[in-house]
Subunit: 135 residues, 4 copies
């Protein structure tokens, strides 16, 4: 099973319309087309939907480095409320150490406007990522 | 439309099985019965599902104070991977000021074990929460 | 050299008037009497002074568990501006795992009012804390 | 009193050797020459010293936008322990809204290596920054 298959098997991300577009070398891009099901009571994309999109991009970037990486903690700043269109999450590596690494993810709207920013610290296990491990 | 109706209209939370159990006076409790759809590629509850559960409890607690409150930023620490059972998110108020307020949410498993902790800073608008506002 | 000596040798904390009052079993208390030197341009205690106070309490709590612990990341929320009196930082353990642990620190004024809250994730090394190690 | 004078009157930053080099248009640079007084018990720069350096750069960047800005919360990730040389904090704006704004600060060593990253959310008051206000 490839790492791509692994993320295709992320039922929460897939079920919520998050698509992994590309990843590798500490970077990743994921997308989500906004649908009715992503909205909160106010009619804008729910914070959990934005987090899920960012988290998948983070996980793909962090696991592209040959070791299984799990999030220790993450923070997200909500910048702009959106209610339609496609959102893109772009993950990049801030630092990479033996056992921990840091990533940031920008979520942007189709017009390039910043919707949210996400940062997460990953713990890197002494093994390659694989399906049977706890991610 | 009551505040309860407002949260019942949160399509992302409802669609992902998050239930608001009670809220008021800066506090709230939400629950989520873990299902197949909440799992990531490793078979444990996805970080975005945990965030969504915590976020609803936070939003209910923050909006129980008579002003519309929106999250400026949130952070979550992932403590224990879980794959079955019911999760409970308990939100409490850390501080309440005129325009900002802070809340923490503990997510616990059925055995009381801590699964994740979430903190969020809310911005409080000069109006009562209502459906037509951006929450 | 005891752990107490170790913190007494923290030149930044000591030089800035931070005193470790007690620690052990994942808990710690530190204090700082506000002086002119702690103030920012507006005449209130600078954020860095509050962070330093909280950080010492965190470090003492985290290193009381038999392994050397270093902060991976920390966040602080500023709740109330203060300019005189004694501040107390009380650190407590949120979770303790083999290689990571989480702590929160409340900073309170003499009247018990909350001034700031701090959370930090510690990485726990496979060795006892000692002076010659990088803390 | 200019904004530059305001920061020169930050007794905590000045007393701890933090120098504001330049600021304007949502950006700022501050420096700190590492001295004995910045070290913790392990002989490396204390987390509070790094935070103080980053916080001054943040405050200068956030207050360069014509409104008084105060930090609501901040987080810092500690990447590399250092014990000598000059540290540079470079603040940049992530987003700027009417009442809130986000800034990140990179702290680098003389060789360009990343020592810490800092993010803070600012609350922007409806007035110009000035000495008599609470910053």
């Amino acid at each position: 099973m490839t790492l791509k298959d692994f993320f295709d098997n992320d039922r929460f991300a897939v079920g919520n319309g998050v698509k992994l577009i590309e990843f590798g070398e500490g970077r990743a891009i994921a997308e989500m087309q906004i649908e009715e099901k992503h909205l909160n009571g106010a009619g804008t994309v729910q914070g959990g939907a934005l987090f899920t999109l960012a988290d998948l991009a983070f996980a793909a970037a962090a696991n592209s480095r040959g070791k299984m990486a799990v999030s220790l903690d993450a923070n997200i700043s909500f910048i702009k409320a959106v209610s339609s269109g496609k959102l893109t999450a772009t993950a990049s590596e801030i630092y990479l150490r033996r056992t921990v690494a840091g990533y940031k993810v920008d979520i942007t709207a189709e017009n390039g406007e910043l919707v949210a920013v996400f940062n997460s610290t990953a713990y890197r296990k002494e093994q390659e990522p694989k399906k049977t491990d706890v991610l």
